[in-house]
């Protein structure tokens, strides 16, 4: 047994390049439950990070009583991380769950029944449609639903109501990933695979604290690092993360300067001739613009702008330029910072320059926040059209109209679907009066919370919230619908490397809670949405019907699911799309042939100007004649829009941390995870703490132009001049205020962040604000920041204070079995042919 709070990544199982990652099955059962007590194991996959690990749910007496990893799954080879072990089931199977619909009566939410709740929704919805039309309706959905639920929601919104105002909280986490791939390769869809970790010589982690955000994937990297021929690691992150601690080169750039660094790396490849001219000539276009744009970015100018050592930049470029196989991964450090799309496209550009795409060990992983988020992008309940279709291509819109048997004019396609920040702006201005939020918590996760609270509370708004718990956001609702969670419904979802898993229902949802699918089907029926032939728009009986319809929607598209069935997903491993007649076992790596999805008839977008977000449009795009070539996209570097000044001298950055997921609605309800990180903190460097007379645990007020937070200080390994706060903490568990808003102490990092977004991906800039710090009290003890990861106390410097290590104790013991079975092979025979 291993304390998996203290040992986040578990026991090492080293392996060499081109070997397969050994199997280790992780398991945890509720206190007092033995394996022999488990009545049945139900197949699923974990949704608590983008990894999407294969998992079995232990069931006893109608309850979830534990989980174990699936040894044969190509994603995790049996392993689970702390969130999967302790929050996947505990965070759902919980006494706080909503069990009945709530409706607002005289300003107070009271228990009700489904008929009353749905009647109120439908009545308001119909009145608004009659009086103001579909643009009065907005849907802010999630990265948490299953594929089938997104597809149903997409059709309800786009072909039932006909509103362009649909987006998901995926906008906050994966929008830039999708956009970067669309701009460079013509379509969303991850080129690489997790198998590339087994096969690479070097790894670049761009703004990606994989050690905390995807613990099982990091365990795979650690096992390579402890093996005989470890990959060379380069880390771009302002904090001393565990990734940075294992890196040969750590580029602790100033928040907001990513693109300058990327320009410098690209320039070094050109300068040193570390490019594959044949690949560039045959498979890419627009290289000259790239060369011109990066020209000013010498090593010295990068060093000055980014606050890093020029020699480190040179070494990083050399590692990229001279390693045979390079794997790059990208996450929020790039996606939620300034010039997000341009910086992320620059990662694609590095690979295109060297032809490192579609070959073993040469992956690009533009990451997600969770596996289910990928499906929102595919299904189009966010700002996309279903099946990676192009809203500017009338034939694509007609294909959807034919599939759904509706008139194509009802499907909004006159401009890109409205992004989340703009939806909230329309609510603020009063033109959206009906907002349906499912499974997300903008009252904690959106930027500039004081503003968001005002918007959610506005009197002109009818707010529907569908969730597992009475979240900070649900407390503003007019109607709250209790949702079934993971393990309480059946459906599929797809992780970062396109692997589709089936998650079977293990137990019944509590009380009257229903799956999101059932709720959308009910709404569609009550609204009377029909097809052209007069039959109901959605006549599905259950998730498998939806999945079969979805397969038709993907036929011939990059995300082709036509070769997948529920039965095919049962028993074994997940399967990576595209999976069809040509690729019956799925596809491990896209673009093996160097032919990209940029053909004008096929592509998901005609692209954008990366500086302004201006659409390029069909005529210009067709005139470029991309003909299956990847496109070098770039933009000139611009300083972040809010930079430190005399009044607000620090750069503030936020991030996700190992023990929590999003706004803690699930993880705070797992005792093991909550004990490991029960409260917010702020991180400062040794030098900054000393110059401000601060030591570990001192209480500070951090203030931006928009708000403030109060929290104890952790003196950590963050770079000088930067302040970090974890993203997760809100107010529902703060005592007497009712939990919608802060009562006494502001602690949500987003009190401080700015309302701003990337011009192309529209992802908010959550990692870049100017703040000041003021001590308000001596600490009574240490901060409650974990000591196991990037928030660990700095190892040097004055004013140090002893800090107790983060451990889990008996409750956090999990069983690890080094399974004497062969690891699952790369998914497809095709890969070996």
């Amino acid at each position: 047994m291993v304390d998996r709070i203290a040992e986040i990544w578990g026991t090492r199982t080293p392996y060499a390049r081109d070997e397969r990652w050994p199997v280790r099955v992780d398991q945890v059962l509720a206190e007092g439950i033995h394996e022999s007590d488990v009545e049945r194991w139900v197949q699923s996959a974990c949704v608590l990070c983008s990894n999407g690990c294969g998992i079995d749910i232990a069931v006893k007496d109608g309850s979830m009583v534990g989980v174990r990893g699936r040894a044969m799954d190509i994603v995790n080879h049996g392993r689970l991380g702390p969130k999967g072990l302790f929050a996947s089931w505990q965070g759902v199977d919980n006494k706080d769950r909503l069990t009945r619909p709530l409706v607002r009566e005289n300003g107070v939410l009271v228990e009700s029944d489904w008929d009353t709740a749905m009647q109120r929704i439908v009545s308001r919805s119909k009145t608004l449609l009659e009086n103001k039309g579909p643009l009065s309706h907005g849907f802010y959905t999630s990265g948490q639903l299953f594929l089938e639920e997104y597809y149903a929601q997409a059709i309800v919104g786009k072909a039932g109501i006909g509103t362009p105002h649909m987006d998901g909280n995926t906008r906050l986490c994966t929008a830039t990933a999708a956009t970067a791939m669309k701009e460079s390769f013509g379509s969303d869809g991850q080129p690489g695979s997790y198998v590339d970790i087994d096969e690479c010589d070097a790894m670049f982690l761009f703004g990606h604290n994989m050690a905390e955000t995807q613990t099982v994937l990091w365990a795979r990297v650690l096992d390579r690092i402890t093996g005989p021929d470890k990959p060379r690691i380069v880390c771009v992150d302002p904090r001393l993360t565990d990734v940075a601690r294992h890196a040969e080169v750590h580029l602790a750039v100033r928040p907001g300067t990513n693109l300058a660094l990327m320009h410098g790396l690209v320039r070094e490849l050109f300068t040193n001739g570390w490019i594959d001219q044949d690949y560039i000539d045959q498979h890419t276009m627009n290289m000259d613009e790239l060369r011109t744009t990066v020209e000013p970015w010498t090593l010295d100018s990068v060093a000055e702008t980014c606050g890093v050592d020029a020699e480190d930049v040179r070494r990083a470029a050399e590692i990229f330029g001279t390693s045979d196989r390079v794997l790059s991964t990208v996450l929020q450090g790039f996606y939620q910072s300034s010039q997000a799309t341009a910086s992320s496209c620059a990662v694609n550009n590095l690979h295109m320059l060297r032809g490192l795409i579609g070959r073993p060990g040469c992956g690009i992983l533009q990451m997600n926040g969770q596996p289910t988020a990928q499906n929102n992008r595919e299904c189009g309940a966010d700002g996309d059209l279903s099946g990676f279709r192009n809203w500017e291509n009338p034939e694509h819109v007609q294909e959807l109209a034919d599939l759904w048997n509706v008139d194509s004019v009802i499907i909004p396609h006159w401009s890109p679907p409205t992004h989340a920040m703009q939806i909230f702006r329309y609510v603020e201005q009063g033109s959206i009066e009906f907002l349906w939020i499912s499974a997300t918590n903008p009252a904690v996760s959106m930027p500039q919370l004081p503003r968001i609270r005002d918007i959610l509370a506005s009197s002109s708004l009818f707010l529907v919230v569908q969730d597992l718990y009475l979240t900070e956001t649900a407390r503003y609702a007019d109607v709250v619908l209790p949702a079934a969670g993971w393990g309480e419904k059946t459906g599929t979802f797809t992780n970062v490397n396109r692997t589709v898993h089936l998650s079977e229902q293990a137990i019944d949802p509590p009380g009257e809670a229903r799956s999101d699918l059932d709720t959308f089907l009910d709404y569609s029926r009550r609204m009377g949405f029909t097809r052209l032939d007069g039959t109901p728009l959605l006549d599905w009986k259950g998730p498998e019907d939806v999945f079969n319809a979805w397969k038709e929607c993907t036929r011939g598209r990059p995300c082709d699911y036509t070769g997948i069935t529920y039965d095919k997903l049962r028993g074994g491993s997940g399967v990576p799309w595209p999976c069809n007649e040509d690729h019956p076992d799925g596809v491990v790596r896209l673009y093996r042939d160097g032919v990209f999805a940029t053909d004008p008839e096929y592509c998901e977008t005609y692209g954008h100007d990366l500086l302004t977000g201006a659409t390029i449009g069909p005529e210009t795009y067709k005139a470029m004649k991309p003909a299956g070539r990847a496109i070098f996209k770039t933009a000139p570097y611009q300083p972040a829009h809010e930079t430190p000044d005399e009044d607000y001298p620090f750069r503030f950055t936020t991030g996700r941390t190992v023990y929590h997921f999003h706004t803690r609605t699930k993880t705070a309800r797992s005792p093991q995870l909550n004990h490991a990180a029960p409260d917010a903190w702020v991180e400062m460097s040794v030098n900054d703490a000393e110059s401000h007379g601060l030591i570990e645990g001192d209480i500070v007020r951090v203030e931006s132009r928009r708000g403030h937070i109060t929290a104890p200080v952790r003196v950590s390994g963050i770079r000088d001049g930067s302040i970090f706060a974890p993203f997760h903490y809100g107010y529902w568990d703060e005592g007497t205020s009712g939990g919608a808003a802060p009562n006494t102490r502001y602690r949500a990092a987003n009190e401080l962040t700015i309302t701003e977004w990337d011009p192309v991906s529209k992802q908010p800039v959550l990692k870049n604000a100017a703040v000041r710090v003021e001590k308000i009290a001596d600490g009574v003890g240490q901060s409650l920041a974990p000591t196991t990861t990037a928030s660990r106390p700095a190892e040097r410097g004055g004013n140090r204070k002893h800090v107790l290590p983060t451990v889990g104790g008996p409750a956090a013991q999990a069983k690890e079995t080094m399974a004497p079975v062969d690891p699952p092979m790369v998914a497809t025979e095709e890969e070996h042919s």
Binding site: R425, G430, D609
Partner: protein
């Protein structure tokens, strides 16, 4: 040679456009994308005027022409408010940017006739940005128009 007349027209138009971008930026600060992008585009217009400086030094610049001004393009007098106001202000910027764009085109014609490679380079770089400014304005207006014209108060 009447090229200096058009150089003067362009110089003045870029200055007007820069001022107007800044005006719209400040006036619609609650639309963060409009705020930040208009600032960036105003800076581009400043850059265009700088790029024109050596050209003007060579050919001169005529402020007043003997052709009378028929269409006045003095920039925005004041900022409107609300969703339709935003649309109208962006549309005014579009007209100003169109004037700049077509003026660059005329100068490009002259540069080709003069076989002035330096001037052609200036035109290519600057007018490319002006065309993108137009595309951004069109993208943003197309996004805003349905909501402003159908449901906004």
């Amino acid at each position: 040679m009447r090229l200096p007349v058009y150089l003067g027209l362009l110089h003045k138009s870029e200055a007007t456009l820069a001022r107007s971008f800044r005006q719209v930026s400040e006036g619609h600060g609650h639309e963060p994308d409009v705020y930040f992008i208009c600032q960036a585009l105003a800076a581009q217009c400043d850059g265009h005027q700088q790029a024109l400086a050596p050209v003007i030094e060579r050919y001169g610049e005529v402020d007043k022409d003997d052709e009378p001004e028929r269409l006045h393009a003095d920039g925005l007098s004041e900022i409107r408010s609300g969703p339709v106001g935003l649309l109208r202000d962006l549309q005014d910027l579009y007209l100003l940017a169109s004037l700049v764009d077509i003026t660059w085109t005329m100068i490009k014609q002259a540069a080709q006739g003069l076989r002035d490679k330096d001037l052609l380079d200036v035109v290519t770089n600057c007018d490319g940005q002006t065309k993108t400014q137009l595309k951004w304005l069109q993208t943003r207006m197309k996004q805003a128009a349905p909501q402003a014209l159908i449901v906004a108060e």
